[in-house]
Symmetry: C2
Subunit: 383 residues, 2 copies
């Protein structure tokens, strides 16, 4: 049900011809109101694509009428012409919908360093606008795929109001954020400040803790749009929890579809002195190529976990570290623990627990294994 699960939204997904293979590549999401409140979170990469620079400006007003998204080209590192193209895209959407361009967010994903084929994209906006529908969420989710093998959507419905959304992303997943485009919609009747607070709280513990390959993208964008069409204004905590649920579900789907992965790895750091320590240790483990190879080989290699923990500044004593893999404490007090032969590694999901024995804080980072398929996909696909 995607971005049209909540009332007050229409969407479309079409093939504009941006992708040479003819697959869907242009999505349009429109907020039909009565509210048009919005919030956004963007990549922390300092090399930002033109659509990110544009959409950051759009979101400053807290008002978004429409989001236009294209796959087949990231419009990143494309200079002044790239920014002009993003601006022209927003103007085209504004013209077709009878809105101001400054209310139109733009997202792009695909190859870096290549200009978009505007002669195909701009007519595509007209085609998409003509197909806008309250049932168009699924098609929109399909149109933003790049190397994704499946489209990703999620919906949480509460008492009279709904949060739903779509996501794309498969490689270049790393915090701040992953190579992802995410559009969330809700018919809750809330202002942009409330949306912003809930969205930042949610992404901090979901998308920011998805780390597929340690590579941060130039185009990451997560938007939350509210139509107010339900006429209901839920309490902040309930709303924030619903947004977090949808973000967590979409983040889990991103990891589950990571390029070439054969294992989804949940890295849970416990008993850390601070949450920052827990996150730092979790990321270090999640980014350790040697460990990710070992997990691929179904080898419960706790030595590589300790080696990764040892590179951090977190509070811990080496001889007090404990590590469990799939429930077996293979490392106790920094040394050999239970028999590693007891670890069952046959399933896709792998659970690593790193106990720092230094406090009471915790954090969970999701990653995946490193495989020959990842290498193949990323040595053959230029992005």
């Amino acid at each position: 049900m995607s971005v049209t699960a909540a009332k007050g939204f229409q969407a479309a997904g079409i093939a504009a011809g941006i992708k040479e293979n003819g697959n869907p590549d242009l999505a349009l999401v429109v907020n039909t109101g009565p509210r048009r409140a919005a919030a956004g979170v963007f990549t922390s990469n300092r090399v930002k694509a033109a659509p990110v620079l544009w959409s950051e400006q759009v979101l400053k007003s807290g008002q978004v009428s429409a989001v236009v998204l294209n796959s087949g080209g990231a419009n990143a590192c494309t200079g002044p012409k790239g920014f002009q193209d993003t601006h022209a895209t927003a103007e085209k959407v504004a013209e077709v919908l009878g809105r101001g361009a400054i209310e139109v967010a733009v997202c792009s994903t695909g190859l870096i360093g290549v200009l978009l084929p505007m002669d195909k994209l701009l007519p595509g906006v007209e085609t998409a606008a003509a197909q806008l529908s309250e049932h168009g969420g699924e098609k929109a989710a399909i149109a933003i795929k790049t190397t994704d093998t499946v489209h990703k959507t999620s919906v949480v419905t509460k008492d009279g109001w709904t949060v739903g959304g779509m996501a794309k992303g498969a490689g270049m997943l790393a915090p701040g954020l992953a190579t992802m485009l995410v559009v969330l919609t809700t018919d809750a009747d809330l202002d942009s400040e409330t949306l912003d607070k809930a969205l930042r709280a949610a992404t901090k513990v979901t998308f920011d803790r998805v780390d597929s390959d340690g590579c941060m993208s130039t185009n990451d964008t997560v938007l939350l749009l509210a139509s107010g069409a339900s006429g209901i204004a839920p309490g902040y905590d309930e709303f924030a929890e619903a947004v977090r649920e949808v973000c967590a579900d979409l983040g889990r789907q991103l990891i589950g579809d990571a390029e070439g992965a054969s294992k989804d790895i949940k890295v849970e750091v416990i008993n850390a002195a601070t949450e920052e320590d827990a996150v730092e240790v979790g990321r270090s483990i999640a980014r350790n190529n040697l460990l990710k190879c070992a997990i691929h080989g179904e080898d419960p290699n706790w030595g590589r976990v300790l080696s990764a923990i040892g590179t951090t500044r977190a509070a811990f004593e080496p001889d007090q570290l404990n590590v469990a893999i799939n429930g077996v404490w293979v490392c106790k007090n920094g040394s050999v623990g239970e028999d590693r032969e007891l670890v069952d590694m046959r399933y896709r999901e792998v659970h690593i627990v790193a106990d720092l024995a230094a406090g009471a804080e915790t954090a969970t980072i999701w990653t995946n294994d490193l495989t020959a398929d990842y290498v193949h996909e990323n040595s053959a696909y230029s992005s």
Copy 2:
């Protein structure tokens, strides 16, 4: 000629039975004087193997009579028993050579989390001692190999004095230092303070700038021993340069033998505001898995270089960045530059230049590509 190129050293390399396949696995290097000055640099990983903890204590005196090295087991994460084993190894060497154990450095490499077979290692020390020779350097270099496909040695001879050495390391290469064991020897007549200064200056710009897979080891050790046997005390600058040359040569050999690699990549950062900026940017590029895959696929993917630069705190403006790959400036002013089709990627060595246009400092980091062979080797080999 390895560690016996300089006068005043004997070495041996034997098969003690630590490795199950019967390959050489124990090396002994002895300084026969008249001096026994020494300096050492160790891993900055906070999870340190027992031999590192021991050797750090040994080096505090600035005196080393002998170094015993084993492959086939890292003796890391092995608790109090592991430390006792290292101590017993040093005691055995001391007993056989008629020296104090506190003058015996110990190095181990291989699997983490496994105790060493002391019933094989201790008799092996006696066997090695019986085979000590002024021509034993080559055999010692062979005995410290793990997944190395070749042994690595280097020698620089100056006017009457020599610096030589051996290295092992193929995976888990990352700064601070790489998974490496390195023993350098010289017959120059210098004190331990001078050795220490020269060694730190050399490793900072050589081994610390070798980053194969971003994974920092628990066992890295680089030792420099001086016998004074030449009777010559060279000036500091000349000596430091000789040590740097040997370290650079060995570091280059480590990258050339990195696990599964098909490309050696020289990442040169120029026009940085500070040397620290240049190193940070170089490391970020060298650790970008997506870029390493692209280079494996002979794809001059400058977008991934920019994306990696964008994650750093270095001083730069995104629209002033320039990138050359093998001499072709494929990115100019943060956008499309010369035709990427002009880049010739057929050769093993690849040269990436990142121009930050922010100052006059520079740094070079060596790395390699990410390949299916790396994944295979590290998902099948438990270390």
